[in-house]
Amino acid sequence: MTAHPSTRRFRAPDIWRALALAILCGLSLLPLVMAFFISFKTIPQFARVPFLPTLPLHWRNYVSAWEIVRMFLFNSVFASGLTVIGVLALGSLAAYSFAILRYPGREFLFYLVLALMMVPATLTLIPSFVLVKNLSLLNTRWSLILPWVASGQVFAIFILRTYLQSLPKELFDAARIDGASEWQGYYKIALPMSKSMLGVTAILNILGTWNNLIWPALTISQLERQTLTPGLWSYQVENFTRYGFLMAGLLIGSVPLVILFLFTSRWFVEGLTSGAIKV
């Protein structure tokens, strides 16, 4: 048993791991590759050869998609951005309360929140829409952000609570002995410790709102405030589906997400530092 097990002994297994991952990731990336091929096709080209690349490449799809996407990009970034901030702020606070603090009714309240995820959206669609209308929020960005913060939180609370519960209890107990307030426990320990999980929560939340089609299509009828996906879909024509245009638009629209993943990926790499448990 050497003192540095990481350098030599694990190289061979790493290759097998990389191979297995490459196959799995490669296969699950195929749809993305297909979407990429389709984005260069005209309607007739897609009708004939749906998946493999066809020549000539039809770059124009990207030009016409960009014309549309750029109208909606800011709206999507704004709505999804504010939503994710709201969800992380409120969700982590509530999750801390549910996971770390103790008070009567805690479990009951938690299940009460969890139960919201079990109500089918089909049923709440019309009541929610009428509610947003009665609050005079229609055609404003708040008609997206407020309901999205509310619904995104439930999920965030659930996964953040699970994570916080799995953190060593001593962390928080030790802090309390040191006289830290609950607020400090949240702010100084829980938040920094759950960076990676906050990142997962953020990504999940942004994914949910970024490609949301139905809700913005209902609440926003003025194009200047519309978000990306419904915006793209509102430029479809009857009797034709412009797959090339659609895929080009969706791929352009996914660039901000990819950049976001690249930057936040660092968070996930960091596990607990070795000293953490001794706080």
Binding site: T42, I43, P44, Q45, F46, A47, R48, P50, H58, R60, N61, S64, E67, I68, L125, I126, F129, V130, K133, L138, L213, I214, P216, A217, L218, S221, Q222, L223, T229, P230, G231, L232, W233, S234, Y235, Q236, V237, E238, N239, F240, T241, R242, G244, F245
Partner: protein, 491 residues
């Protein structure tokens, strides 16, 4: 003409608006940035008329169109006090779902596409403005002496338009007519020495000839379960019922009204457990083996299979014309044939001589309705006036001819020569209006769903004919009971 329109507007305005608003309408036209309170604001969604992203024709933009904008601009000169705002509605979610939600919240655009069979379900909800009084009054935009100058309704072709009557009233406007054909690959037919079939027996022979070559020939559109699987099913049924049943269901051979159909079921005239209905099931099942294997769940866009020469026949609608005409890669000759006749070669129930098939479709294109929200917002008169302006033949022609997927349902609008034949059929004969067997249209979706299930299970050999008939009977009876109770009919 201009004066008479204004006078009408003011009259109608005073009838429906508050005194203040009527006074505003009398005020002089604003010079561009007038006070917002003076302008009546209309919101509209134009459905298929919505302008395309670009006006440059190309492979990805085969039918560029924006003439609705020109018509709206022209309308500004006629009605400077009406501001029309139009919206785009994202496709890809159910339009019906969108409509239900918007109506619930009272935020539906004042003018929006709405199919008459949906309006039928909404009658008790007072969601859609009844237009009969306006239809009976003159269209002020029509010069005197021409159709419509006395009564707006005179502008529309009476036979298809009558199908939209519900409780003796008009609740939407149908500007377009549509029908279906069998498109076929002429080159491929000739290769096998085949010609377009004119009877059902010939149709099956043609399909068999292709099957001998390993090709499942009968491609085309397949509807959802509550809709029909192919439109030809309904046409074939019509021909089976033409001799014995139809004269009883619909004695005047005019439009088959909802009342007639429901009462025919109630009075045991039109029942699934009859020789004719069973004959229909049997005959229709004969073509199942010629359909592509995936007919139950195929993508709605079946053009690709026809264009790539996977399937030599495609049953589809008038709207396929522009698709086939604009596709630059079509390298074969294609043509159309109309629903093949059912003759005594195939069945003993047919008339002599054979009755031609009902043209499918009819008043189902470019359907617009005015939401009752318009009255609440005090813009009903303006909404009606705008629709009357659009029904002026020149205006409608400008919008429809640019798109080319429908035929006009308004008189004096020139018809594309390609469509002349079906157009004559639809406007001079009774077409689908006479069709009492189209479950989703003449019954309702609630009945059509289990009926469609039974048909498909029978076609797929998952249900015997007796069991299918039993299931269909149950839905028929439930529908008749439901409709008769709702409408308070005595049959």
């Amino acid at each position: 003409m201009n004066v008479s329109r204004r006078a009408f507007l003011q009259l109608a305005g005073m009838a429906s608006l508050s005194g203040t608003l009527a006074a505003c309408a009398l005020a002089p036209a604003p010079g561009g940035d007038g006070d917002a309170a003076e302008v009546a604001e209309l919101t509209a969604y134009w459905g298929g008329w919505t302008p395309t992203q670009s006006q440059e024709r190309g492979e990805d933009n085969p039918i560029p169109h924006d003439n609705i904008l020109q018509v709206l601009e022209a309308y500004q000169d006629v009605a400077p006090n009406t501001a029309v705002e139009w919206i785009r509605v994202p496709q890809g979610m159910g339009f019906r779902e969108w409509t239900v939600a918007q109506q619930n919240a009272g935020t539906i655009p004042h003018i929006t596409p709405q199919a008459h069979w949906h309006v039928k379900d909404d009658l008790d909800k007072s969601w859609w403005q009844e237009l009969t009084p306006f239809m009976e009054a003159p269209n002020p935009h029509i010069p005197s002496g021409e159709a419509g100058s006395a009564r707006w309704v005179d502008q529309f072709f009476p036979i298809p338009t009558r199908e939209t009557l519900m409780r003796d009233g008009y609740h939407n406007l149908v500007f377009g007519l549509i029908t279906t054909f069998f498109y076929y690959n002429v080159d491929w037919f000739e290769e096998l020495g085949l010609s377009s079939p004119s009877t059902y027996a010939e149709f099956l022979d043609v399909c068999q000839a292709f099957l001998d070559e390993g090709v499942r020939a009968y491609g085309g559109w397949t509807g959802s379960i509550s809709d029909t699987d192919h439109w030809y099913r309904l046409q074939l049924g019509g021909m089976v019922f033409a001799r014995d049943i139809e004269p009883l269901v619909n004695p005047d051979r005019d439009n088959a009204s909802y009342e007639e159909v429901a009462c025919a079921i109630e009075n045991q005239i039109y029942v699934p457990d009859s020789d004719q209905y069973r004959e229909w099931l049997r005959l229709w099942k004969m073509n199942v083996s010629y359909r592509p294997q995936d007919w139950t769940t195929r993508a709605t866009d079946s053009h690709a299979k026809f264009l790539t020469k996977k399937e030599p026949i495609m049953e589809n609608g008038t709207w396929s014309f522009p698709r086939l005409l604009t596709d630059p890669l079509v390298d074969f000759e294609w043509d159309t044939f109309f629903a093949p006749l059912l003759t005594s070669d195939s069945s003993s129930f047919v008339t002599d001589p054979p009755t031609p098939a009902w043209p499918i479709g009819g008043p189902v294109g470019d359907q617009m309705a005015i939401a009752t929200r318009a009255e609440k917002d005090g813009v009903l008169a303006q909404a009606v006036d705008l629709m009357q302006f659009i029904s002026v033949p020149d205006n409608l022609y400008s919008i429809q001819s640019e798109i080319g997927t429908t035929m006009p349902n308004v008189k004096n609008v020139p018809v594309d020569p390609r469509f002349q034949e079906p157009f004559d059929l639809l406007t001079t004969q009774i077409g689908e209006t006479q069709m009492f067997i189209y479950e989703e249209v003449k019954l309702d979706a609630e009945a059509a769903e289990p009926i469609g299930q039974a048909w498909r299970a029978y076609l797929l050999d998952h249900l015997s004919q007796d069991d299918a008939v039993a299931a269909i009977t149950e839905s028929f009876d439930a529908y008749a009971e439901r409709f008769i109770e709702r409408e308070g009919l005595t049959c």
